[in-house]
Protein backbone atom coordinates (compact mmCIF):
# COMPACT_ATOMS: atom_id res chain seq x y z
CA UNK A 1 0.00 0.00 0.00
CA UNK A 2 2.56 2.54 1.06
CA UNK A 3 5.68 2.95 -1.00
CA UNK A 4 8.95 1.56 0.46
CA UNK A 5 10.25 5.07 0.93
CA UNK A 6 7.31 6.16 3.06
CA UNK A 7 7.41 2.95 5.12
CA UNK A 8 11.12 3.51 5.78
CA UNK A 9 10.41 7.05 6.82
CA UNK A 10 7.75 5.96 9.28
CA UNK A 11 10.08 3.40 10.85
CA UNK A 12 12.88 5.94 11.06
CA UNK A 13 10.70 8.51 12.79
CA UNK A 14 9.40 5.88 15.21
CA UNK A 15 12.96 4.85 16.12
CA UNK A 16 14.00 8.46 16.58
CA UNK A 17 10.94 9.09 18.76
CA UNK A 18 11.70 5.98 20.76
CA UNK A 19 15.35 6.99 21.37
CA UNK A 20 14.38 10.57 22.31
CA UNK A 21 11.67 9.45 24.73
CA UNK A 22 13.82 6.72 26.31
CA UNK A 23 16.59 9.26 26.91
CA UNK A 24 14.15 11.85 28.28
CA UNK A 25 12.55 9.43 30.72
CA UNK A 26 15.94 8.04 31.76
CA UNK A 27 17.21 11.56 32.43
CA UNK A 28 14.19 12.37 34.61
CA UNK A 29 14.55 9.15 36.58
CA UNK A 30 18.30 9.65 36.90
CA UNK A 31 17.65 13.14 38.17
CA UNK A 32 15.37 11.67 40.84
CA UNK A 33 18.39 9.63 42.05
CA UNK A 34 17.03 6.17 41.24
CA UNK A 35 19.59 3.37 40.74
CA UNK A 36 20.76 2.84 37.17
CA UNK A 37 18.89 -0.49 36.84
CA UNK A 38 15.60 1.23 37.55
CA UNK A 39 16.46 4.19 35.31
CA UNK A 40 17.14 1.89 32.33
CA UNK A 41 14.52 -0.72 33.14
CA UNK A 42 11.63 1.69 33.58
CA UNK A 43 12.41 3.92 30.62
CA UNK A 44 13.19 1.08 28.20
CA UNK A 45 10.17 -0.93 29.19
CA UNK A 46 7.62 1.88 29.22
CA UNK A 47 8.77 3.49 26.01
CA UNK A 48 9.15 0.20 24.15
CA UNK A 49 5.60 -0.72 25.17
CA UNK A 50 4.56 2.68 23.91
CA UNK A 51 6.34 1.96 20.63
CA UNK A 52 4.39 -1.28 20.27
CA UNK A 53 1.15 0.59 20.94
CA UNK A 54 2.12 3.12 18.26
CA UNK A 55 2.79 0.35 15.74
CA UNK A 56 -0.65 -1.04 16.53
CA UNK A 57 -2.18 2.38 15.86
CA UNK A 58 -0.30 2.65 12.58
CA UNK A 59 -1.48 -0.73 11.43
CA UNK A 60 -5.07 0.00 12.35
CA UNK A 61 -5.14 3.32 10.51
CA UNK A 62 -3.41 1.77 7.56
CA UNK A 63 -6.24 -0.66 6.93
CA UNK A 64 -9.04 1.27 8.44
CA UNK A 65 -8.77 4.91 7.45
CA UNK A 66 -11.52 7.09 8.94
CA UNK A 67 -13.25 8.90 6.09
CA UNK A 68 -13.66 12.07 8.08
CA UNK A 69 -11.69 13.23 11.08
CA UNK A 70 -13.66 11.82 13.98
CA UNK A 71 -12.11 13.48 17.00
CA UNK A 72 -14.13 11.48 19.45
CA UNK A 73 -12.99 8.25 17.89
CA UNK A 74 -9.37 9.28 18.00
CA UNK A 75 -9.61 10.36 21.65
CA UNK A 76 -11.48 7.23 22.65
CA UNK A 77 -9.08 4.86 20.95
CA UNK A 78 -6.07 6.72 22.38
CA UNK A 79 -7.45 6.66 25.92
CA UNK A 80 -8.29 2.96 25.75
CA UNK A 81 -4.91 2.15 24.33
CA UNK A 82 -3.16 4.30 26.95
CA UNK A 83 -5.04 2.55 29.71
CA UNK A 84 -4.02 -0.79 28.30
CA UNK A 85 -0.42 0.35 28.04
CA UNK A 86 -0.50 1.65 31.62
CA UNK A 87 -1.92 -1.61 32.91
CA UNK A 88 0.68 -3.77 31.20
CA UNK A 89 3.73 -1.59 31.80
CA UNK A 90 2.74 -0.94 35.42
CA UNK A 91 2.28 -4.65 36.10
CA UNK A 92 5.59 -5.52 34.45
CA UNK A 93 7.46 -2.82 36.37
CA UNK A 94 5.88 -3.90 39.64
CA UNK A 95 6.98 -7.50 39.07
CA UNK A 96 10.45 -6.42 37.88
CA UNK A 97 11.22 -4.13 40.81
CA UNK A 98 9.29 -5.91 43.61
CA UNK A 99 11.73 -5.03 46.37
CA UNK A 100 12.24 -1.32 45.57
CA UNK A 101 9.60 0.21 47.88
CA UNK A 102 10.71 3.80 47.20
CA UNK A 103 10.37 3.19 43.49
CA UNK A 104 6.98 1.47 43.82
CA UNK A 105 5.71 4.49 45.71
CA UNK A 106 6.98 6.77 43.00
CA UNK A 107 5.41 4.53 40.36
CA UNK A 108 2.08 4.70 42.08
CA UNK A 109 2.22 8.49 42.38
CA UNK A 110 3.21 8.97 38.76
CA UNK A 111 0.38 6.88 37.28
CA UNK A 112 -1.67 9.93 36.26
CA UNK A 113 1.32 11.63 34.67
CA UNK A 114 2.27 8.42 32.86
CA UNK A 115 -1.27 8.01 31.63
CA UNK A 116 -1.44 11.61 30.42
CA UNK A 117 1.92 11.23 28.73
CA UNK A 118 0.95 8.01 26.93
CA UNK A 119 -2.38 9.50 25.91
CA UNK A 120 -0.62 12.52 24.42
CA UNK A 121 1.91 10.43 22.50
CA UNK A 122 -0.67 7.99 21.15
CA UNK A 123 -3.04 10.79 20.12
CA UNK A 124 -0.23 12.48 18.21
CA UNK A 125 0.75 9.19 16.56
CA UNK A 126 -2.86 8.46 15.62
CA UNK A 127 -3.43 11.88 14.10
CA UNK A 128 -0.09 11.81 12.30
CA UNK A 129 -0.74 8.41 10.82
CA UNK A 130 -4.24 9.37 9.73
CA UNK A 131 -2.85 12.44 8.03
CA UNK A 132 -0.07 10.40 6.50
CA UNK A 133 -2.30 7.71 5.03
CA UNK A 134 -4.83 10.26 3.91
CA UNK A 135 -2.12 12.09 2.08
CA UNK A 136 -1.00 8.85 0.41
CA UNK A 137 -4.58 8.10 -0.62
CA UNK A 138 -4.95 11.55 -2.04
CA UNK A 139 -1.71 11.27 -3.94
CA UNK A 140 -2.88 8.00 -5.43
CA UNK A 141 -6.24 9.47 -6.30
CA UNK A 142 -4.54 12.44 -7.92
CA UNK A 143 -2.32 10.21 -9.99
CA UNK A 144 -5.27 8.11 -11.06
CA UNK A 145 -7.13 11.23 -12.13
CA UNK A 146 -4.13 12.49 -14.04
CA UNK A 147 -3.85 9.11 -15.77
CA UNK A 148 -7.52 9.15 -16.71
CA UNK A 149 -7.15 12.66 -18.01
CA UNK A 150 -4.11 11.81 -20.08
CA UNK A 151 -5.94 8.81 -21.46
CA UNK A 152 -9.02 10.75 -22.44
CA UNK A 153 -6.89 13.51 -23.87
CA UNK A 154 -5.09 11.00 -26.03
CA UNK A 155 -8.40 9.51 -27.10
CA UNK A 156 -9.80 12.91 -27.92
CA UNK A 157 -6.73 13.80 -29.93
CA UNK A 158 -7.05 10.55 -31.78
CA UNK A 159 -10.68 11.21 -32.57
CA UNK A 160 -9.98 14.77 -33.67
CA UNK A 161 -7.35 13.56 -36.06
CA UNK A 162 -9.53 10.84 -37.52
CA UNK A 163 -12.45 13.12 -38.31
CA UNK A 164 -11.46 14.30 -41.74
CA UNK A 165 -10.46 10.95 -43.19
CA UNK A 166 -13.26 8.74 -44.55
CA UNK A 167 -14.52 10.97 -47.34
CA UNK A 168 -11.02 11.39 -48.69
CA UNK A 169 -10.33 7.69 -48.41
CA UNK A 170 -13.43 6.57 -50.28
CA UNK A 171 -13.03 9.13 -53.03
CA UNK A 172 -9.41 8.08 -53.47
CA UNK A 173 -10.41 4.44 -53.70
CA UNK A 174 -12.97 5.42 -56.29
CA UNK A 175 -10.30 7.21 -58.32
CA UNK A 176 -8.08 4.15 -58.13
CA UNK A 177 -11.00 2.02 -59.23
CA UNK A 178 -11.35 4.21 -62.32
CA UNK A 179 -7.62 4.26 -62.98
CA UNK A 180 -7.41 0.46 -62.99
CA UNK A 181 -9.26 0.56 -66.30
CA UNK A 182 -7.77 3.78 -67.67
CA UNK A 183 -4.17 3.81 -66.55
CA UNK A 184 -3.09 0.77 -64.52
CA UNK A 185 0.40 2.20 -64.05
CA UNK A 186 -0.96 5.32 -62.38
CA UNK A 187 -3.41 3.21 -60.38
CA UNK A 188 -0.51 1.28 -58.95
CA UNK A 189 1.33 4.48 -58.09
CA UNK A 190 -1.73 5.87 -56.36
CA UNK A 191 -2.22 2.70 -54.34
CA UNK A 192 1.37 3.08 -53.20
CA UNK A 193 0.90 6.73 -52.24
CA UNK A 194 -2.36 6.05 -50.46
CA UNK A 195 -0.77 3.19 -48.53
CA UNK A 196 2.18 5.36 -47.50
CA UNK A 197 -0.23 8.06 -46.41
CA UNK A 198 -2.39 5.69 -44.37
CA UNK A 199 0.63 4.02 -42.81
CA UNK A 200 1.71 7.46 -41.69
CA UNK A 201 -1.61 8.15 -40.00
CA UNK A 202 -1.60 4.78 -38.27
CA UNK A 203 1.80 4.65 -36.69
CA UNK A 204 2.02 8.11 -35.28
CA UNK A 205 1.30 9.04 -31.72
CA UNK A 206 -0.98 11.98 -31.22
CA UNK A 207 1.39 14.05 -29.18
CA UNK A 208 4.51 13.18 -31.12
CA UNK A 209 6.47 16.04 -32.62
CA UNK A 210 8.04 15.79 -36.07
CA UNK A 211 10.23 18.10 -38.08
CA UNK A 212 8.66 20.39 -40.62
CA UNK A 213 10.60 18.57 -43.35
CA UNK A 214 8.97 15.25 -42.43
CA UNK A 215 5.54 16.80 -42.15
CA UNK A 216 5.87 18.45 -45.56
CA UNK A 217 6.99 15.14 -47.06
CA UNK A 218 3.88 13.58 -45.65
CA UNK A 219 1.74 16.45 -46.86
CA UNK A 220 3.12 15.99 -50.38
CA UNK A 221 1.92 12.40 -50.39
CA UNK A 222 -1.54 13.64 -49.63
CA UNK A 223 -1.34 16.40 -52.25
CA UNK A 224 -0.20 13.96 -54.93
CA UNK A 225 -3.28 11.85 -54.29
CA UNK A 226 -5.58 14.85 -54.37
CA UNK A 227 -4.01 16.00 -57.63
CA UNK A 228 -4.83 12.69 -59.24
CA UNK A 229 -8.42 13.08 -58.05
CA UNK A 230 -8.94 16.66 -59.11
CA UNK A 231 -6.59 16.78 -62.10
CA UNK A 232 -5.35 20.20 -63.07
CA UNK A 233 -8.08 21.94 -61.09
CA UNK A 234 -5.79 21.70 -58.09
CA UNK A 235 -2.48 23.57 -58.03
CA UNK A 236 -0.21 23.84 -55.01
CA UNK A 237 2.79 25.94 -54.10
CA UNK A 238 4.90 25.28 -51.02
CA UNK A 239 7.42 27.83 -49.76
CA UNK A 240 9.70 27.02 -46.85
CA UNK A 241 12.09 29.71 -45.71
CA UNK A 242 15.66 28.79 -44.86
CA UNK A 243 16.27 27.28 -41.48
CA UNK A 244 12.65 26.23 -40.89
CA UNK A 245 13.06 22.61 -41.87
CA UNK A 246 14.23 21.30 -38.49
CA UNK A 247 11.45 23.15 -36.61
CA UNK A 248 9.12 20.82 -34.74
CA UNK A 249 5.36 20.57 -34.97
CA UNK A 250 2.70 18.06 -33.87
CA UNK A 251 2.47 15.21 -36.30
CA UNK A 252 -0.29 15.28 -38.93
CA UNK A 253 -1.27 18.83 -38.11
CA UNK A 254 -0.87 20.35 -41.55
CA UNK A 255 -2.74 17.75 -43.57
CA UNK A 256 -6.20 18.50 -42.12
CA UNK A 257 -5.59 22.23 -42.47
CA UNK A 258 -4.63 21.80 -46.11
CA UNK A 259 -7.50 19.37 -46.63
CA UNK A 260 -9.80 22.04 -45.30
CA UNK A 261 -8.28 24.64 -47.61
CA UNK A 262 -8.65 22.34 -50.61
CA UNK A 263 -12.28 21.58 -49.80
CA UNK A 264 -13.01 25.20 -49.24
CA UNK A 265 -11.12 26.29 -52.35
CA UNK A 266 -12.25 23.58 -54.73
CA UNK A 267 -15.86 23.56 -53.69
CA UNK A 268 -16.16 27.28 -53.73
CA UNK A 269 -14.82 27.90 -57.21
CA UNK A 270 -15.44 26.09 -60.44
CA UNK A 271 -12.11 26.86 -62.08
CA UNK A 272 -8.53 26.19 -61.05
CA UNK A 273 -7.64 26.44 -57.40
CA UNK A 274 -4.21 27.45 -56.17
CA UNK A 275 -3.36 26.46 -52.61
CA UNK A 276 -0.23 28.08 -51.21
CA UNK A 277 1.60 26.95 -48.10
CA UNK A 278 4.17 29.28 -46.53
CA UNK A 279 6.43 28.27 -43.66
CA UNK A 280 8.63 30.69 -41.77
CA UNK A 281 10.13 31.29 -38.34
CA UNK A 282 9.27 34.31 -36.28
CA UNK A 283 10.86 34.72 -32.89
CA UNK A 284 10.30 31.50 -31.06
CA UNK A 285 7.50 30.30 -33.28
CA UNK A 286 7.10 28.35 -36.48
CA UNK A 287 4.43 30.04 -38.57
CA UNK A 288 2.64 28.24 -41.33
CA UNK A 289 0.04 29.95 -43.44
CA UNK A 290 -2.22 28.16 -45.89
CA UNK A 291 -4.12 30.19 -48.47
CA UNK A 292 -7.01 29.19 -50.66
CA UNK A 293 -9.29 31.18 -52.94
CA UNK A 294 -12.92 31.65 -52.00
CA UNK A 295 -15.94 33.52 -53.23
CA UNK A 296 -16.89 36.22 -50.70
CA UNK A 297 -20.34 36.52 -52.24
CA UNK A 298 -21.46 32.99 -51.64
CA UNK A 299 -19.59 31.75 -48.62
CA UNK A 300 -19.15 33.70 -45.48
CA UNK A 301 -16.35 32.21 -43.48
CA UNK A 302 -17.62 32.30 -39.95
CA UNK A 303 -15.95 34.52 -37.45
CA UNK A 304 -12.95 33.02 -35.68
CA UNK A 305 -12.41 29.83 -37.58
CA UNK A 306 -13.70 28.60 -40.87
CA UNK A 307 -15.58 25.36 -41.02
CA UNK A 308 -13.70 22.23 -40.11
CA UNK A 309 -11.00 24.05 -38.20
CA UNK A 310 -12.46 23.86 -34.72
CA UNK A 311 -11.12 20.35 -34.21
CA UNK A 312 -7.62 21.52 -35.13
CA UNK A 313 -7.97 24.38 -32.69
CA UNK A 314 -9.03 21.95 -29.98
CA UNK A 315 -6.06 19.73 -30.74
CA UNK A 316 -3.64 22.64 -30.47
CA UNK A 317 -5.24 23.60 -27.18
CA UNK A 318 -4.82 20.10 -25.80
CA UNK A 319 -1.18 20.03 -26.86
CA UNK A 320 -0.08 23.55 -25.96
CA UNK A 321 -2.82 24.84 -23.61
CA UNK A 322 -3.18 27.89 -25.85
CA UNK A 323 -6.18 29.09 -27.79
CA UNK A 324 -4.48 31.65 -30.00
CA UNK A 325 -2.41 29.35 -32.19
CA UNK A 326 -4.87 29.01 -35.05
CA UNK A 327 -6.31 32.02 -36.80
CA UNK A 328 -8.07 32.71 -40.04
CA UNK A 329 -8.47 35.80 -42.14
CA UNK A 330 -10.25 36.61 -45.35
CA UNK A 331 -8.60 39.09 -47.68
CA UNK A 332 -10.65 39.89 -50.74
CA UNK A 333 -10.94 36.50 -52.46
CA UNK A 334 -8.20 34.72 -50.52
CA UNK A 335 -8.84 32.86 -47.32
CA UNK A 336 -5.83 32.43 -45.08
CA UNK A 337 -5.40 29.97 -42.25
CA UNK A 338 -2.39 30.61 -40.03
CA UNK A 339 -1.04 28.25 -37.44
CA UNK A 340 1.70 29.09 -34.96
CA UNK A 341 3.76 26.39 -33.30
CA UNK A 342 5.79 27.43 -30.25
CA UNK A 343 9.31 25.99 -30.41
CA UNK A 344 11.07 24.73 -27.34
CA UNK A 345 14.36 26.51 -26.77
Amino acid sequence: MASPLSAKRIIASLIIGWVVLVCAQALILYDLKFPISIVLGDSLLSITMLLLASLLVLNITRYYLPTSYQYIGIIASSSVLSLLWLLISNTCLKILFEEQTAYLGFLHNSLVIRYAFAFLVLTIVTIASILWYNWLERKKEFKRKADVEALSREAELFKLRQQLQPHFLFNSLNSINALIGLDPQLARKMVQQLSDFLRGTLKKEESQMVTLEEEIGYLNLYLEIEKVRFGNRLQTKIDISEGCKPALLPTLLLQPIVENAIKFGLYDTTGQTLITIDCRSEGNELIISVKNPFDPETSMPKKGTGFGLSSIKRRLYLLFARNDLLSTAAHDTIFETTVKIPQQV
Binding site: P166, H167, F170, N171, L173, N174, S175, I176, N177, A178, L179, G181, L182, V228, R229, F230, G231, L266, Y267, D268, T269, T270, D295, E297, T298, S299, M300
Partner: protein
Protein backbone atom coordinates in the same frame (compact mmCIF):
# COMPACT_ATOMS: atom_id res chain seq x y z
CA UNK B 1 -33.02 4.39 -75.57
CA UNK B 2 -32.71 6.48 -72.40
CA UNK B 3 -30.71 9.66 -72.11
CA UNK B 4 -28.23 9.86 -69.26
CA UNK B 5 -26.22 12.72 -67.80
CA UNK B 6 -23.27 12.17 -65.47
CA UNK B 7 -22.60 14.97 -62.99
CA UNK B 8 -19.51 14.63 -60.84
CA UNK B 9 -16.64 17.02 -60.23
CA UNK B 10 -13.98 14.34 -60.47
CA UNK B 11 -12.99 13.32 -63.97
CA UNK B 12 -12.04 9.83 -62.86
CA UNK B 13 -15.36 9.30 -61.13
CA UNK B 14 -17.16 10.25 -64.34
CA UNK B 15 -15.05 7.94 -66.48
CA UNK B 16 -15.78 5.16 -64.03
CA UNK B 17 -19.52 5.55 -64.56
CA UNK B 18 -19.00 5.80 -68.32
CA UNK B 19 -16.99 2.64 -68.34
CA UNK B 20 -19.62 0.74 -66.40
CA UNK B 21 -22.28 2.11 -68.75
CA UNK B 22 -20.63 0.39 -71.73
CA UNK B 23 -22.46 -2.76 -70.69
CA UNK B 24 -25.79 -0.97 -71.07
CA UNK B 25 -26.13 0.13 -74.69
CA UNK B 26 -29.73 1.15 -74.07
CA UNK B 27 -28.43 4.04 -71.96
CA UNK B 28 -26.82 6.85 -73.89
CA UNK B 29 -24.63 9.45 -72.21
CA UNK B 30 -25.69 12.79 -73.65
CA UNK B 31 -23.59 14.99 -71.36
CA UNK B 32 -20.90 14.95 -68.69
CA UNK B 33 -20.69 17.80 -66.23
CA UNK B 34 -18.10 18.84 -63.66
CA UNK B 35 -20.36 21.00 -61.48
CA UNK B 36 -23.94 21.88 -60.72
CA UNK B 37 -24.12 24.87 -63.02
CA UNK B 38 -23.11 22.85 -66.03
CA UNK B 39 -25.38 20.10 -64.81
CA UNK B 40 -28.37 22.37 -64.65
CA UNK B 41 -27.75 23.68 -68.14
CA UNK B 42 -27.28 20.20 -69.52
CA UNK B 43 -30.46 18.94 -67.88
CA UNK B 44 -32.49 21.76 -69.38
CA UNK B 45 -30.93 21.25 -72.77
CA UNK B 46 -31.16 17.46 -72.99
CA UNK B 47 -34.10 16.60 -70.72
CA UNK B 48 -32.47 13.33 -69.66
CA UNK B 49 -34.29 10.32 -68.27
CA UNK B 50 -31.66 9.57 -65.67
CA UNK B 51 -28.81 11.39 -63.98
CA UNK B 52 -25.89 10.02 -62.05
CA UNK B 53 -25.26 12.65 -59.44
CA UNK B 54 -22.48 13.30 -56.97
CA UNK B 55 -23.42 15.26 -53.86
CA UNK B 56 -20.31 17.17 -52.91
CA UNK B 57 -19.47 19.42 -55.84
CA UNK B 58 -18.06 22.92 -56.38
CA UNK B 59 -20.29 25.91 -55.62
CA UNK B 60 -23.60 24.13 -55.33
CA UNK B 61 -24.16 20.60 -54.10
CA UNK B 62 -25.99 17.91 -56.01
CA UNK B 63 -29.08 18.54 -53.91
CA UNK B 64 -29.02 22.25 -54.41
CA UNK B 65 -28.77 21.69 -58.14
CA UNK B 66 -31.68 19.25 -58.12
CA UNK B 67 -33.81 21.80 -56.27
CA UNK B 68 -33.42 24.17 -59.20
CA UNK B 69 -34.50 21.67 -61.86
CA UNK B 70 -38.11 22.23 -62.81
CA UNK B 71 -38.96 18.66 -63.73
CA UNK B 72 -36.26 16.56 -62.13
CA UNK B 73 -35.51 13.24 -63.84
CA UNK B 74 -34.79 9.96 -62.08
CA UNK B 75 -31.62 10.15 -60.00
CA UNK B 76 -28.98 7.64 -58.99
CA UNK B 77 -26.65 9.15 -56.43
CA UNK B 78 -22.99 8.24 -56.61
CA UNK B 79 -21.25 9.57 -53.58
CA UNK B 80 -18.68 8.92 -50.90
CA UNK B 81 -21.07 10.18 -48.22
CA UNK B 82 -21.36 7.70 -45.44
CA UNK B 83 -24.19 5.28 -45.41
CA UNK B 84 -25.87 6.82 -42.41
CA UNK B 85 -26.28 10.18 -44.13
CA UNK B 86 -27.51 8.62 -47.31
CA UNK B 87 -30.10 6.35 -45.70
CA UNK B 88 -32.24 9.43 -45.31
CA UNK B 89 -33.13 9.45 -48.96
CA UNK B 90 -33.05 5.75 -49.65
CA UNK B 91 -36.77 5.64 -50.23
CA UNK B 92 -36.81 8.37 -52.83
CA UNK B 93 -33.86 7.96 -55.14
CA UNK B 94 -33.79 5.13 -57.67
CA UNK B 95 -30.68 3.96 -55.91
CA UNK B 96 -27.50 5.26 -54.43
CA UNK B 97 -23.99 4.05 -55.07
CA UNK B 98 -21.41 4.39 -52.36
CA UNK B 99 -18.00 5.12 -53.84
CA UNK B 100 -16.13 3.03 -54.69
CA UNK B 101 -18.58 0.62 -56.30
CA UNK B 102 -18.14 -2.23 -58.77
CA UNK B 103 -19.81 -3.16 -62.02
CA UNK B 104 -22.14 -5.60 -60.32
CA UNK B 105 -23.48 -3.04 -57.90
CA UNK B 106 -23.75 -0.53 -60.72
CA UNK B 107 -25.70 -2.98 -62.88
CA UNK B 108 -28.13 -3.51 -60.05
CA UNK B 109 -28.80 0.21 -59.83
CA UNK B 110 -29.27 0.43 -63.59
CA UNK B 111 -31.70 -2.48 -63.68
CA UNK B 112 -33.68 -0.83 -60.89
CA UNK B 113 -33.92 2.22 -63.10
CA UNK B 114 -34.89 0.20 -66.16
CA UNK B 115 -37.56 -1.62 -64.20
CA UNK B 116 -39.06 1.52 -62.75
CA UNK B 117 -41.81 3.53 -64.26
CA UNK B 118 -40.22 6.79 -65.37
CA UNK B 119 -42.88 9.30 -64.33
CA UNK B 120 -43.07 7.62 -60.92
CA UNK B 121 -39.31 7.76 -60.54
CA UNK B 122 -39.30 11.45 -61.38
CA UNK B 123 -42.06 11.98 -58.84
CA UNK B 124 -39.89 10.25 -56.26
CA UNK B 125 -37.13 12.75 -56.92
CA UNK B 126 -39.55 15.58 -56.19
CA UNK B 127 -40.62 13.95 -52.94
CA UNK B 128 -37.00 13.48 -51.99
CA UNK B 129 -36.38 17.17 -52.34
CA UNK B 130 -39.46 18.08 -50.35
CA UNK B 131 -39.37 15.66 -47.47
CA UNK B 132 -36.00 14.27 -46.72
CA UNK B 133 -33.67 15.97 -44.29
CA UNK B 134 -30.75 16.05 -46.64
CA UNK B 135 -27.20 16.15 -45.44
CA UNK B 136 -25.42 19.31 -46.37
CA UNK B 137 -25.15 22.91 -45.43
CA UNK B 138 -28.07 24.75 -43.90
CA UNK B 139 -26.27 28.07 -44.06
CA UNK B 140 -27.39 29.10 -47.52
CA UNK B 141 -30.27 28.89 -49.94
CA UNK B 142 -29.71 28.41 -53.65
CA UNK B 143 -32.25 30.07 -55.93
CA UNK B 144 -32.65 30.60 -59.65
CA UNK B 145 -33.21 34.10 -60.88
CA UNK B 146 -34.10 33.83 -64.53
CA UNK B 147 -31.23 31.80 -65.92
CA UNK B 148 -28.81 32.90 -63.20
CA UNK B 149 -28.16 30.95 -60.06
CA UNK B 150 -27.93 32.86 -56.83
CA UNK B 151 -26.57 31.58 -53.54
CA UNK B 152 -28.05 33.44 -50.58
CA UNK B 153 -26.27 33.06 -47.24
CA UNK B 154 -29.02 32.60 -44.66
CA UNK B 155 -27.91 35.62 -42.64
CA UNK B 156 -28.89 37.78 -45.61
CA UNK B 157 -32.44 36.47 -45.58
CA UNK B 158 -34.81 38.98 -43.94
CA UNK B 159 -37.93 36.85 -43.90
CA UNK B 160 -39.88 34.26 -45.86
CA UNK B 161 -43.48 34.42 -46.88
CA UNK B 162 -45.71 31.63 -48.18
CA UNK B 163 -47.11 32.25 -51.67
CA UNK B 164 -49.27 29.37 -52.93
CA UNK B 165 -46.95 26.54 -53.96
CA UNK B 166 -43.89 28.73 -53.54
CA UNK B 167 -42.05 30.49 -50.79
CA UNK B 168 -40.90 34.06 -51.27
CA UNK B 169 -37.42 34.59 -49.86
CA UNK B 170 -36.91 38.25 -49.04
CA UNK B 171 -33.44 39.79 -49.05
CA UNK B 172 -32.25 43.39 -49.25
CA UNK B 173 -32.25 43.17 -53.04
CA UNK B 174 -35.81 41.92 -53.29
CA UNK B 175 -37.39 38.49 -53.19
CA UNK B 176 -36.72 35.15 -54.83
CA UNK B 177 -39.20 32.35 -55.33
CA UNK B 178 -38.50 28.80 -54.43
CA UNK B 179 -40.69 25.77 -54.95
CA UNK B 180 -40.63 24.53 -51.36
CA UNK B 181 -42.92 24.42 -48.37
CA UNK B 182 -42.85 26.62 -45.28
CA UNK B 183 -42.38 23.59 -43.06
CA UNK B 184 -39.35 22.59 -45.12
CA UNK B 185 -37.75 25.96 -44.42
CA UNK B 186 -38.85 25.90 -40.81
CA UNK B 187 -36.83 22.74 -40.22
CA UNK B 188 -34.04 23.65 -42.66
CA UNK B 189 -33.10 27.09 -41.35
CA UNK B 190 -31.06 27.39 -38.15
CA UNK B 191 -33.53 27.52 -35.26
CA UNK B 192 -31.55 30.10 -33.32
CA UNK B 193 -31.81 32.56 -36.21
CA UNK B 194 -35.23 31.99 -37.73
CA UNK B 195 -38.65 31.71 -36.12
CA UNK B 196 -41.91 30.74 -37.76
CA UNK B 197 -43.93 33.63 -36.45
CA UNK B 198 -47.07 32.80 -38.38
CA UNK B 199 -48.48 30.12 -40.66
CA UNK B 200 -47.28 32.18 -43.63
CA UNK B 201 -44.15 33.81 -42.21
CA UNK B 202 -40.67 32.86 -41.06
CA UNK B 203 -38.63 35.76 -39.76
CA UNK B 204 -34.93 36.36 -39.19
CA UNK B 205 -34.91 37.46 -35.54
CA UNK B 206 -31.90 39.71 -36.06
CA UNK B 207 -34.00 41.88 -38.36
CA UNK B 208 -36.75 42.58 -35.83
CA UNK B 209 -36.74 46.09 -34.37
CA UNK B 210 -39.97 45.86 -32.41
CA UNK B 211 -43.14 43.86 -31.94
CA UNK B 212 -46.47 45.72 -31.71
CA UNK B 213 -49.89 44.43 -30.71
CA UNK B 214 -52.17 44.07 -33.69
CA UNK B 215 -55.90 43.50 -33.69
CA UNK B 216 -57.16 41.17 -31.00
CA UNK B 217 -54.55 38.82 -29.54
CA UNK B 218 -52.32 39.17 -32.59
CA UNK B 219 -49.01 40.96 -33.00
CA UNK B 220 -46.95 42.39 -35.79
CA UNK B 221 -43.16 42.45 -35.99
CA UNK B 222 -41.56 45.50 -37.56
CA UNK B 223 -38.28 44.79 -39.34
CA UNK B 224 -35.31 47.10 -39.83
CA UNK B 225 -36.33 47.72 -43.43
CA UNK B 226 -39.86 48.63 -42.33
CA UNK B 227 -41.52 45.40 -43.42
CA UNK B 228 -44.40 44.20 -41.24
CA UNK B 229 -44.56 40.52 -40.40
CA UNK B 230 -47.67 38.85 -39.02
CA UNK B 231 -47.18 37.20 -35.66
CA UNK B 232 -49.73 34.68 -34.44
CA UNK B 233 -50.34 33.99 -30.76
CA UNK B 234 -48.31 30.82 -30.98
CA UNK B 235 -45.61 32.64 -32.95
CA UNK B 236 -45.50 35.40 -30.35
CA UNK B 237 -44.76 32.80 -27.68
CA UNK B 238 -41.93 31.34 -29.78
CA UNK B 239 -40.48 34.79 -30.49
CA UNK B 240 -40.58 35.69 -26.82
CA UNK B 241 -38.69 32.49 -26.04
CA UNK B 242 -35.97 33.04 -28.63
CA UNK B 243 -35.56 36.76 -27.92
CA UNK B 244 -35.53 36.11 -24.16
CA UNK B 245 -38.38 38.51 -23.37
Amino acid sequence: MSKVIIIDDEFLARSMVKEYLKKHPQLEVVAECGDGFEGLKAIQEHQPDLIFLDIQMPKISGFEMLELVENPPAVIFATAFDEYAIKAFEAHAIDYLLKPFDQERFDKAVSKFLASNLPVAAEHTKELLNDAQLPGSNNRIVVKNGSKIKIIPVQEVLYLEAADDFVKIFTKEGYYLKNKTMSFFESFLPADMFVRSHRSFIVNIQEITRIDPYEKDGHVAILKNGAKINVSRNGYGKLKGVLGL
